[in-house]
Amino acid sequence: MSDIKQPGADGIIRMEAVNKWYGQFHVLKDINLNVRQGERIVLCGPSGSGKSTTIRCINRLEEHQKGSIVVDGTELTNDLKQIENVRREVGMVFQHFNLFPHLTILQNCTLAPMWVRKMPKKEAEEIAMHYLQRVRIPEQAHKYPGQLSGGQQQRVAIARALCMKPKIMLFDEPTSALDPEMVKEVLDTMVGLANDGMTMLCVTHEMGFARTVADRVIFMDKGEIVEQAKPDDFFDRPQNERTQLFLGQILH
C-alpha cells in the first residue's frame, strides 16, 4: 500500500482491528493504526468517513466494540481508572472550542491541573500563563470566553489542553468553525506545536497544513483506512481511486 514503515510494538498509540457500530451502522471497520512518539498524523476524508470517531476512540469519548486500543501502555477498557489515566496524557481540541463559559480564560486553563494533577494554584497559574503566552494571548487571561473571537477561543483551547502537559494532542477539525481570517492564527499555533515534537493526530481539511507538518497523511472513507502515505506521495501520487476522487474535489 505504501512505503511507510508502520511502527511496531513501540507505538505510543496502537489500534488493532478496531470496530465500532452505531446501532446497525458500521462506523469503523477494522482500523489498524500505530503512532510513534513524536509522529504528526493528519486524518482526512469525506464527511461521515469515521475520522473524527477514530480519534475520539483514542481518549474514549467514543467506545469501540471490537479490537484493542492501547495508549501509552494502557489498554482502553470499561475500567474508569484506566480511561482517566489515558485522558490525563491525551489533550483534545474540539471543533467548537468547548471552553467553559462560566470561567475566565485563566481558570479554564488551571481547572484540570488543579483538580486532576492536584497542582497548587500558584504553580497552575504560572504554567497557564506560560502557555497563554505561547499562543500569544496572555493579555486576555482575565476575560471570559464569550468576550473573545473564535480564533482566540481556539488558541485558548489549545493552551488549556497543553496545561495538562499531555504526551499526545488530538485535534478534531480545529479550524472548521472559524471565520476564514482566523484560520491562520490557529494553524500557526499548531505548526509551532508540531515543531516542538508533540505527538499529534489532527482531523482537518487544511491540506496546506498537512503538506507542511504531517509525517503521514491518512485517508479514510466509509469507516476504513483507504490509504496512508507521506504527504508528498499522498498528494502527488495518490494510489487509490477514492483518494484521487477526494483530492480532486478539494484541491482545484
Binding site: 485522558r87 468547548n98 486532576v116
Partner: protein, 365 residues
C-alpha cells in the same frame, strides 16, 4: 480668523415629546384606545379611593382597645396589639429576644458573603452553613447552656414560616440536585430510584403529605416512639419540594451543550468533578428563575402547616381574630398577612433578578 455663531437649536415639536405627546401616543391614539382609557380610569376611581380611605385615611392607628376604632375604617390596633403573636406565635414573650438574636446573627453572619472585596467566600460560606444552623437551633430550642427549653409546639407566627422556608430550601436544594444527577445517571438502578422518588412526590398534593406526616405516620411507628410534629412537617416539605427542584435543575442540565461534558471528560475530570465544576455551575445559573419560582411557592406553601395544627402566620391571624375581644377583625388580619407574604416573595424575586445580572458572564451571544 473668522468668528461665527451657530443659530440656536429649535425647540422639539410639541407633538412628539412631553406629557401631552405621551398621553396622545399611549392613551388616546384611537377611538377604541380612548374608550379603554376612560373605562380604566372609571374602574380606578371606583376602587382606589374607597380602598385608601379604608386602609389609611379613615383607619385607626393609635390606641389600645377596639372601642377607639372608627367603624368606617380599618382597625390597625388589632395588628399592633397582636403583633407579637403574629411574629412569634406562642413563643414565651420574655424569651423572644432569642428569636431576634437568631435573625440578627443570620444577617450579620451572612453579610460578609455580600461584600465584593471579601476573598474567602467559599470557606467562610461553608463554615457559616455548618455552624449557623447549630447555633440557631440552640438559641431557638434552648434546653442547654442555661437557656430555657421552648418546645416547637410553641413556635409560631412568621418565625415558623421563615424557619420552615429556609430549612426547607436548604434541604431541598442539595437533595434536588442529587436527584437531578441521579435521573440523568447512566446506572439504571440509580435512575429508577430517582425517577420513582420524583414522580411519587410530585404526584401527591403537599397538603396530603403534611396530613400523612402528622396523622398517619405515628400510627406506623412503634408505641411510645414519636418525634416532633414540626420536624415531621419539615421533612415532608423537604422531600416534596426536592422533587420540584430536581426537575428544574434537570432542565438546566439538559440545556448545557454536549461539548461541555466532553471537554470536561477529555481533561480527565471524572464524573463528580465534571458535574460540580463544569455542568452544575452553568446549569444552576440558567435555572435561577425556575428555582426562585419554586422557592417562592415553597415559602407560600409553609402556610399549609396550619392544617396539622402548627401556628404559623396565617393560623395565628385566624386564632387572634377568633378572640372575642377582637371579633370581626379578620379582614385587617388577612390583609396584614398578605402584605407580609408579598414583601418576602417580592424581595426574593428582586434578589434573583440581581443575581442573574451579576452572574452573567456574557457567553450568550
Amino acid at each position: 480668523m473668522t468668528t461665527h455663531q451657530f443659530k440656536p437649536d429649535l425647540p422639539p415639536p410639541v407633538a412628539t415629546v412631553g406629557v401631552y405627546a405621551w398621553l396622545r401616543a399611549n392613551l388616546f391614539s384611537s377611538v377604541p384606545n380612548t374608550l379603554l382609557t376612560l373605562v380604566a380610569l372609571y374602574l380606578i376611581w371606583l376602587i382606589v379611593p374607597p380602598l385608601l380611605s379604608w386602609a389609611i385615611f379613615q383607619a385607626t392607628w393609635l390606641g389600645d382597645s377596639r372601642e377607639q376604632c372608627t367603624p368606617s375604617g380599618a382597625c390597625w390596633l388589632f395588628i399592633e396589639q397582636r403583633f407579637g403573636q403574629f411574629m412569634y406565635g406562642y413563643y414565651p414573650p420574655e424569651l423572644r429576644w432569642r428569636v431576634d438574636l437568631t435573625v440578627l446573627l443570620a444577617v450579620v453572619g451572612a453579610a460578609p458573603l455580600f461584600v465584593a472585596r471579601f476573598t474567602h467566600k467559599l470557606r467562610y460560606g461553608i463554615a457559616f452553613l455548618v455552624l449557623y444552623p447549630i447555633l440557631a437551633y440552640c438559641l431557638l430550642s434552648g434546653g442547654m447552656l442555661g437557656l430555657e427549653h421552648v418546645p416547637t409546639t410553641q413556635w409560631g407566627g412568621l418565625m415558623l414560616n421563615l424557619i420552615l422556608a429556609t430549612v426547607g430550601i436548604a434541604g431541598a436544594l442539595p437533595l434536588g440536585i442529587l436527584l437531578a444527577l441521579g435521573r440523568r445517571s447512566k446506572l439504571p438502578a440509580v435512575r429508577v430510584v430517582c425517577v420513582t422518588f420524583i414522580e411519587f412526590w410530585r404526584g401527591v398534593p403537599l397538603i396530603t403529605v403534611l396530613f400523612m406526616a402528622s396523622v398517619m405516620l405515628p400510627l406506623f411507628l412503634p408505641e411510645g416512639m414519636s418525634f416532633d410534629k414540626m420536624l415531621r412537617a419539615l421533612i415532608g416539605i423537604i422531600l416534596f419540594e426536592s422533587a420540584y427542584v430536581a426537575e428544574v435543575v434537570r432542565g438546566g442540565m439538559q440545556a448545557i451543550p454536549k461539548g461541555q461534558y466532553e471537554a470536561a471528560a477529555a481533561m480527565a475530570l471524572g464524573y463528580w468533578r465534571s458535574m460540580f465544576l463544569v455542568v452544575l455551575p452553568q446549569a444552576l445559573k440558567l435555572v435561577i428563575p425556575g428555582l426562585v419560582n419554586t422557592f417562592i411557592a415553597l415559602f407560600k406553601d409553609t402556610s399549609l402547616v396550619y392544617i396539622v395544627g402548627l401556628f404559623e402566620l396565617l393560623n395565628s391571624v385566624k386564632q387572634a381574630s377568633a378572640d372575642p375581644k377582637w371579633l370581626g377583625m379578620a379582614t385587617e388580619g388577612y390583609v396584614f398577612a398578605a402584605l407580609v407574604f408579598w414583601i418576602f416573595c417580592f424581595g426574593m424575586s428582586r434578589y434573583s433578578m440581581h443575581l442573574e445580572r451579576k452572574l452573567d458572564t456574557g457567553h450568550k451571544r
